[in-house]
Symmetry: C2
Subunit: 467 residues, 2 copies
């Protein structure tokens, strides 16, 4: 067909490549066409030989390729034949700079992990420069694996937001608040001042949603939790926190306040739909009802929770109660890669074996957790998470011809149980091509590799005396 | 260095490529050199800048590259710089032809899986031709992911052995015995006659170990189990079976024989070191002691057991008792790919979370299960499973520079928690290069793809009326 065109070679030239899209002018419609559309909308729309029309940073239409070709005659197009066209994946909980600590503290108990390794390493190495390079490495890995949005909690989130935006990634960036000196802000007053500036700076950005991120119930006082929530409400941004993530937390809160962690947060009057609660391993049935009632989003991190021997979140019960549950990888020091494909696969399998019911969480639900439900969990349900007209154009093309993928009989099974991060071919975020045929167009991979190698050498050297 | 040489381009020409090795004559020593050797021997030998010397189909020496270069002056070499040199992985339990049924029966209960899907599909599609093409596809996927040995239980194992050997793979091929008509043999007498011919035919083959594979305690009578074992003993081959794999099996055996499945098999006088027991989810403590006492090998299939909601095998207890536990993927209808990397990762994580102890199964042990312990579990401990002089030259080169792998601080963590099947670069089996830089040299991938597509179409068409 004459309207098929190879117009993207220019993207490889490297100069501001991410700003380019196949459209000639920014409001021209262009098509991603000829693939199997897996829309991940509520109806479960699947369109063989389908297409997505993109205008600016939004999805203009989704439908059969032939229909969209008639509707948008002469539109430029990106060929997706032999590929699945689906919404980009959402990593609902991570700590991106910690990629530089990948695998540095494995097979340890919590004390050995945190106090023996992570806290001393953070004290020694984490500064703004570290955060920038760790974020760049994470963005490369995330994009390579088809993640278009990540939700982060760490320090120097201003720098993380800058790097994510520069990489062309969508991100909810939560600056951490904690009741002891952090790598970026040494006092609560400093942290609040930083937070105000940070929330104002990123307001209305097309890719970045700033957020307030009080660390947890056992590291932030009741007054400070209320202050954090008031700030989130004032600026109308999400509030990210770890919640019901550890046995010692449940014991700590129960001893101090006589209730479970979710009940405790509710009693502070701050449990609402802006809260994104990471891990949520130990809610009681009453607390699950509270989460549903208050429309709290949950970020489930199955692999991290397994590796840390933390426990198994009651995901089938949360979903049955109507709680929006997304999927997160957690940081690479906890669970050593950032593949959402493995989290989907693991989530489905883990809940089957722990419930004894192989139907309890099927492939379609696992995929929804990484897309539509994940978007809802983090408050972006009107923006991303499915291929529907009016949403932002965050989509990925996935190869389906890997030796580990053929033959295939069902697209959800194929995507959840056989597909790997390395099968992602192309990534489009906010209407812009950010990765094409496996090559990221926004970050210098060579520069990142060079700096990562330098950090590896310094960090490894610091570990040796303790071995 | 002048002795470094690119001599393998000729392998790409395709004609009988697998028979070639970098050595000029079959008994010349050649080196795989310059990589990080992770030997997986008992001592845990690790050699940066290491090398493996290969003579014929055996490992001649393992050591620092400089030492081996002095010891074997003028030897040809395959550059492994930037890569890990390690023993090939052992898939201790699978059903290779079932790759053609990949994902055809997901998210179903056992009845829906077996009786609703798998048994009718097997009755309709499984013949010798099906088995050959399914095996070829599986061999491609296994090689791509660094598996050098697989242990199979299915039908038409003569054809599976032929295909594995043609692909240059090592395999323990167990012809199934079952008390109802099978796709290849309709009666017990036919099956025994087939088995005798099969065991004689493959005796002494450099790559193939034939085996007797009575299906399970609930599908093969006591007399037939004894006959199967007698045949295995007569020919001195392994006996593969599913054992303690399902709750209904435990209940069935307990009701019928008043004991657990392992105790029952022991009571038949056939529990010994030639038995490889797949799954082993439900042994009692007394049965674990029996397994250790009788030196039974176990094939643990964590992902398949999770996906089927079967249960969690007591692997830490089995290992503590001294039982050799290997890792298997099971067939691709149960657990939809054949990646041993994911089984290692999952095994470590699953046992941490179910025991509540993050130290209970570390990365080094998980890797041992896929190599040295797996070899021991299947009776090949003197042949494969580690890089040691005298063992067969089954080794793989693994890239370590993936964006999901950097930085790294420990080779075992890197291999188990970050590395994927797609990171395997080169595969050498029995001294021959079978995959080079990601390209398999023994099977026509194009021909396999064409036939897989045809099977997919026929099988998918047969499913539609039931949807």
């Amino acid at each position: 067909m004459s309207r098929r065109c190879v117009l993207l070679a220019v993207l490889a030239c490297g100069m501001a490549a991410w700003a380019l899209s196949p459209a000639a002018a920014s409001e021209d419609v262009w098509l991603v066409d000829g693939g199997l559309v897996v829309a991940m909308d509520e109806a479960g729309t699947i369109i063989p030989g389908g297409a997505v029309a993109v205008r600016g940073n939004r999805i203009e239409a989704v439908g059969p390729a032939a229909d969209l070709a008639r509707r948008f005659p002469g539109a430029r197009c990106l060929d997706a034949s032999g590929r699945i066209i689906m919404p980009g994946l959402i990593n609902a909980h991570t700590h991106v700079p910690m990629t530089l600590f990948r695998g540095v503290a494995d097979d340890l108990d919590l004390t050995g992990f945190l106090y023996g390794r992570i806290f001393p390493l953070e004290a020694r190495f984490v500064d703004e420069e570290f955060v920038r390079w760790g974020t760049r490495l994470a963005c490369l890995e995330l994009l390579r694996g088809g993640v278009t949005t990540f939700v982060d909690m760490y320090y120097f989130e201003d720098a993380i937001a800058e790097e994510a935006a520069r990489c062309g990634m969508r991100a909810v960036v939560g600056e951490s608040l904690i009741d002891f000196p952090a790598p970026d802000n040494k006092t609560w007053a400093d942290a609040l001042a930083y937070m105000e500036r940070f929330l104002v700076r990123w307001r209305g950005h097309p890719l970045i949603t700033p957020a307030v991120a009080p660390h947890a119930t056992y590291t932030v006082s009741a007054d400070h939790l209320r202050e954090a929530h008031a700030l989130a409400a004032k600026h109308d941004v999400p509030m990210l926190m770890h919640l019901a993530e550890a046995r010692y937390e449940v014991e700590f809160v129960r001893e101090k306040h006589g209730k479970g962690p979710v009940e405790y947060v509710a009693s502070l009057g701050i449990l609402d739909d802006r809260v994104v609660a990471a891990h949520m391993i130990f809610p009681s049935p009453a607390e699950i009802a509270l989460l549903a009632e208050h429309k709290v989003g949950v970020a489930h991190c199955p692999q991290s929770n397994m590796k840390g021997a933390s426990g198994v979140a009651p995901v089938p019960a949360l979903l049955a109660a109507g709680v929006a549950v997304g999927l997160g990888t957690d940081g690479a020091a906890s669970n050593n890669d950032l593949s959402l494909w493995e989290e989907m696969d693991t989530a489905a399998k883990l809940h089957k074996v722990t419930s004894g019911d192989p139907k309890v969480l099927n492939a379609r639900t696992a995929l929804a957790m990484a897309t539509r439900l994940g978007a809802k969990a983090v408050g972006l349900q009107n923006v991303i998470g499915s291929l529907e007209a009016g949403k932002r154009a965050d989509l990925i093309l996935v190869r389906t011809d890997g030796l580990h993928q053929i033959p295939h009989y069902d697209p959800y099974s194929l995507l959840v149980y056989s597909t790997k991060a390395s099968d992602v071919d192309t990534v489009i975020i906010d209407g812009k091509v950010v990765m094409l045929a496996g090559r990221v167009l926004t970050v210098s991979e060579a520069a990142v590799r060079e700096r990562v190698a330098a950090y590896q050498e310094r960090i490894a050297a610091s570990l040796e005396p303790r071995k």
